[in-house]
């Protein structure tokens, strides 16, 4: 009887210690997460603005070139380009097949001059579709 109680106590302490250690270890592993997606989507967003700047389609609001580039982005990406004149939306282009704005992970913004006379604010948002 006495041996049984001591054995049970021993097991309980061992179990408790195991649970404490395991919880600590799993908590650490669970917290160890690096979100590379944000970096890649951010880079893609700023690159999108750079490419559209270089082929001048951003400055000329060329619908064909803008959609052609947005639709050429990887299938899993959804992208939305908005150009503002002050606070008014002047132009908006959403990649084909993307319906709603998801959890935006990539953002690119720039102020640019178009037609040598006007200053606009361009914004690209990227998320997984």
């Amino acid at each position: 009887m006495g041996k049984g109680i001591i054995f049970s106590l021993d097991v309980m302490i061992a179990l408790l210690l195991s649970v404490i250690f395991s919880t600590f270890i799993f908590f650490n592993i669970d917290q160890s997460f690096s979100n590379y997606d944000e970096l890649f989507l951010h880079k893609t967003a700023t690159d999108t603005l750079t490419v559209l700047r270089e082929d001048t389609s951003l400055e000329t609001f060329s619908n064909e070139s803008i959609y052609s580039f947005l639709n050429s982005l990887p299938e899993q990406y959804c992208v939305n380009l908005t150009i503002y004149d002050d606070n008014r939306i002047l132009y908006n282009a959403l990649k084909s097949g993307c319906n709603a704005e998801g959890n935006v992970l990539g953002l690119g913004r720039r102020v640019f001059i178009a037609n040598s006379t006007s200053v606009y604010f361009g914004e690209v948002k990227l998320w997984y579709g």
Binding site: D10, A14, L17, S18, F21, F24, I25, N28, I29, Q31, S32, F33, S34, N35, Y36, E38, L39, H42, K43, T46, L49, T50, R53, G108, R109, R110, V111, F112, I113, S116, T117, V119, F121, E123
Partner: protein
């Protein structure tokens, strides 16, 4: 005492401790990696903002791109403008740059969670150490030489969209024949294809003379259409050593534009103000260097 039990328990605790240590190290490492990733994103955003500002300034605001700055064999420094563009140019650059600065310092700063400050951000640039200020706006290409003593020579060639046959009058200033005065070399060509002429453009004016930077010297070409090309050098806009090329009522393509100074020991650069971008704990301070020798 069960020695095997104690030994077994100790080994298990030791293993747990090792695992805890390893998992903790892994967590620290990934936390650092996460911090590095965030910093990479911030740095990348700052570089993107910097690139955007320089691009807009250089390509759309200045419209007078300095090319190379070279030291010549005759103790002179030459600044060339391979893409000097045309006259007239954009009329309201000062207003355009004001709107651009407000939008960048305001909305872009706010939405990017960054603090962007554009300093001395005007549609002109300065050649240091000479202090010459260049600008092109509306009908004029102007550069001020507040200290004109290092200025040795200015070469400018214009091709106008008018014919030599339609020139109604020309004026050329008198040569001072003083080697201490800067040399102004001006060539104005017509559009070509005139009566009995070739297609390369006939010379309306070709002149290379020394001019007093403290006097008022003007070249003028008038056309029947009312168009005018004018080059002023000397005391204009209340400053000695001022150089102004003016085109109105026609289009003048600036095919050659070179400026030479006396050589100095410092590095010669074309600077157009500077800007600071601060985001989180990363700050980037950049001068708008348009050209450097």
């Amino acid at each position: 005492m069960d020695k095997r039990g104690i030994f077994f328990t100790s080994i298990v605790i030791l293993l747990f401790l090792v695992l805890s240590f390893l998992s903790n190290s892994y967590l620290s490492r990934t936390n650092q990696l996460e911090a590095d990733l965030k910093e990479t994103i911030v740095t990348d955003q700052i570089i993107f903002i910097q690139d955007s500002i320089i691009y807009e300034y250089y390509n759309k605001i200045i419209d007078l791109k300095p090319g190379s700055i070279d030291r010549l064999g005759n103790s002179q420094v030459e600044l060339t403008f391979p893409q000097a563009g045309v006259l007239p140019t954009l009329e309201n650059k000062t207003e355009l740059i004001r709107i651009y600065r407000n939008l960048t310092e305001g909305r872009l700063s706010e939405l990017s969670n960054a603090n962007i400050t554009l300093i001395n951000f005007y549609p002109n640039f300065t050649i240091v150490p000479y202090g010459s200020v260049f600008m092109k706006e509306g009908n004029n290409l102007t550069f001020y030489n507040f200290n004109y003593s290092p200025l040795k020579k200015v070469v400018i060639e214009l091709k106008v969209n008018e014919s030599e046959d339609d020139v109604s009058g020309t004026l050329i200033p008198a040569d001072t024949n003083n080697d201490n005065h800067p040399t102004i070399k001006l060539k104005i060509k017509d559009k070509g294809g005139g009566r009995g002429k070739g297609g390369g453009g006939e010379e309306i004016i070709e002149s290379e003379i020394e001019l007093d930077p403290t006097a008022r010297n003007s070249y003028v070409v008038n056309f029947d259409s009312g168009g005018i090309v004018r080059l002023d050098f000397g005391r204009f806009n209340r400053h000695d050593g001022t150089f102004i090329t003016h085109a109105k009522g026609l289009q003048a393509n600036i095919t050659v534009f070179e400026v030479r100074y006396v050589q100095v020991n410092q590095t010669v650069r074309a600077l157009g103000g500077n800007f600071t971008v601060t985001k989180l704990d990363v700050t980037k301070n950049s001068a708008l260097v348009l050209a450097s020798e």
